[in-house]
Amino acid sequence: MLDNSIFEEPIYGWDFEKKNKFYLNEIKKLTFHHSKNCQQYKNILQTLYYKKLNFKTINNFPFIPVKLFKYLNLMSIDKNNLFKTMRSSGTTNNQPSTIFLDKINAANQTKVLTKIVTSFIGSKRLPMLVIDAKSTISSRKNFSARGAAIIGFSLFGKDITYALNDDLSINYQAIADFHKKYKNSKILIFGFTYILYKNFLKQLSSKSQYSFHKESIVIHGGGWKKMHEASITNLKFKRLVKKNIGINNVHNYYGLIEQTGSIFFECEHGFLHCSIYSDIMVRSNTIEAAKDSGKGIVQLLSPLATSYPGHNILTEDIATIIGIDDCKCGRKGKYFTIDGRLKNAEIRGCSDTR
């Protein structure tokens, strides 16, 4: 389905015109592909978009909300070809999203993740400290978002060490051993932003600070909601990393389980970047066309989503697209910041559920 030549291209090398042309064609093809192979998706196109299927500008293409993956099992493949089922970490009141991958889709995700991450950290595997508990990656068949991310990023590490105990308290012994062994090597630290902050950085006192090699890299992702609540900005977070573990090189990333692999990596100037494997638009509502600039609700495009109709999805995150093709870091494509998440709607009505 997806032309493999895209994997030979420079991942931040396409300008707007080139990328737009490719996406217009590719996302249109995927829209027809999923309509042909996923009955529920077809029903949505036929009944909701019966008069306005318009493939002239990508900003008007039909999209589906990410929450739909919570309510429906959407797949565009024969059940026999199902290779991996991914589930988001749903909270108690919240059903998890379920994403169905065949071998090709899963392999492409991994390929793309590798290309993006190695472009930042180099292709050599680094000693890796995971700021989480080993038990987070328990079941391989049903991945949680956190578990999937850890496993995904473990590709880039060696001697993978878990810094937290099962109760998410710090395993000082493990860290001390790791530190002793690798204090003179470039290492990789990976974790979920809030866990990294609350269960690690915040717990380290002046007595238990560690100083790692200065070229080491911290990669973190998983949302800022709780960080906003704790009033920790990206800048504050970076300072805390520097102070407590002596690392300057800190990269946030933004990604969704609905489009695993094609993550948006934070550049040296603090902006999240689209690679050629994904694109972002923002919209102010579900009716008007999506925009390529300014602030709005995040809509994400991915040419990788072939086994499930996740090629054009509307999230509930808010972003500001800062610019296109002209970031000081030199990478082409759109770059943006995530500003938060929409607050849950409080509907009126007699029934207390929903």
Binding site: Q40, T47, T286, L314, E316, A345, I347, R348, G349, T353
Partner: protein
């Protein structure tokens, strides 16, 4: 048992509780309620909340007298005792109506209200606090308590264990959850489960309307639906059209409604929730032929046949199912206990009633003109509440 839990309960007014019973429509109770009505209307902020104004009007003395004449017959009827009310969290005045139902039937009341921000409730409690200072209301003060608590089995179990009746609003899930807690053998549950409501409109008669009459109709329809995000059990989900096969009246109706929608607001999260719901519905329901998304406030879901599966097609924030029927008789296809309110326009009410009576239709608890969908009444979901919450003394 409950004493060690008491710190988890927020008593809004009085804490001490004493059960007192009265006759149905007792005079001093009626005068308390009408004073409550008057005092609420006297407060300036009340005007900001049409639902609170409606409540106050509903229980003003002239209306109470009308009810009194209807329900105060020659029989001796006395309240059951203690009523435990579990009220709906997202209908701001629901607790107030429930309270009046219990009180007017001669009972003492323990009313659980949600901890959600509720401006209407704030006004209500400001007023009632003052009334309870008066010497003549000291007994009422002790025999009616308003409580808030987060989900807590022990507390619900405690109040359930000694009340004489329990009123459960808040739909199926709440009812199923509360039903886990036993009542006394003699006690009764009055439950208000999830319901489905619909409207029936005659296209020919809509086209006959003068401009101002059409405006009134649309305003009434707006109040029935958008006022509660189209998510009240009595707000119509389905619009059955008669005499409009060419879709002319529909166009007039929806276009006019769109003008009225300037005052309705949908935030981004609700917009997405509504769109998600539409996607979910059309993805799985073969009966939906198309959905016309007019704008973010109005979507019209066209269906190809009328049957009971329609109860699964539920919208909110202005998502209406629409169907062209041949005659009123088609409502017999919807005979089900889940059907609550049928609002109508341009159709003879008797024709509807005759069909309900001839076919002994299930459900159809209310048949009222468009504009009265949200109007509470002493009769609700088939219960005559003053009688459902009292007992009658047999004198034969």
């Amino acid at each position: 048992m409950i004493h060690d839990k008491q710190h988890k309960i927020n008593f809004l007014l009085n804490k001490k509780y004493l059960c007192v019973t009265n006759e149905v429509f007792d005079e001093k109770i009626c005068s308390f309620i009408s004073e409550l009505s008057k005092s609420i209307l006297k407060i300036k902020e009340t005007r900001l909340y049409p639902d609170l104004v409606s409540f106050a009007y509903w229980c003003r003395s002239s209306n109470l007298n009308k009810y009194r004449t209807k329900y105060k017959d020659n029989n001796l009827r006395i309240g059951l005792g203690t009523i435990f009310h579990i009220t709906a969290s997202n209908v701001p005045t629901n607790f107030a109506y429930s309270f009046v139902f219990g009180l007017i039937s001669g009972n003492s009341n323990i009313i659980r209200i949600s901890s959600n921000k509720n401006n209407q409730a704030d006004i209500f409690f400001k007023v009632i606090k003052n009334l309870f200072k008066k010497s003549e209301y000291q007994e009422l003060k002790k025999s009616n308590i308003f409580i808030q608590y987060d989900h807590n089995k022990d507390i619900t179990q405690y109040y359930s264990s000694f009340c004489d009746a329990r009123i459960i609003w808040g739909g199926d899930n709440t009812i199923n959850e509360i039903r886990n807690f036993k009542l006394k053998e003699k006690a009764r549950d009055i439950t208000f489960p999830d319901k489905y409501s619909l409207s029936i409109l005659d296209g020919k008669n809509i086209l006959k309307l003068k401009e101002n009459e059409l405006n009134n109709l649309i305003n009434s329809f707006y109040n029935d639906t958008y006022f509660m995000d189209q998510n009240a059990c009595s707000s119509p989900q389905l619009i059955i059209w008669l005499n409009d096969n060419k879709d002319i009246a529909k166009k007039v109706f929806w276009n006019k409604l769109k003008i009225f929608l300037y005052k309705y607001d949908i935030d981004e999260a609700s917009d997405i929730e509504k769109y998600t719901n539409l996607c979910k519905l059309v993805a799985t329901n073969n009966n939906i032929s198309k959905v016309k998304i007019e704008n973010k406030k109005l979507s019209i879901i066209k269906i190809s046949k009328l049957d009971q599966n329609i109860f699964d097609i539920r919208g909110f924030y202005g998502s209406f199912v629409e169907y062209n029927a041949n005659n009123v008789q088609d409502i017999t296809l919807l005979s089900s206990n889940i059907v609550q309110t049928l609002t109508y326009f341009g159709i003879d009410r008797n024709e509807i009633l005759n069909i309900i009576s001839k076919h002994k239709l299930k459900g159809f608890d209310r048949v009222v003109p468009i504009g009265k969908a949200l109007e509470m009444d002493m009769v609700w979901d088939g219960y005559e509440l003053p009688y459902a919450l009292s007992r009658i003394i047999s004198l034969n």
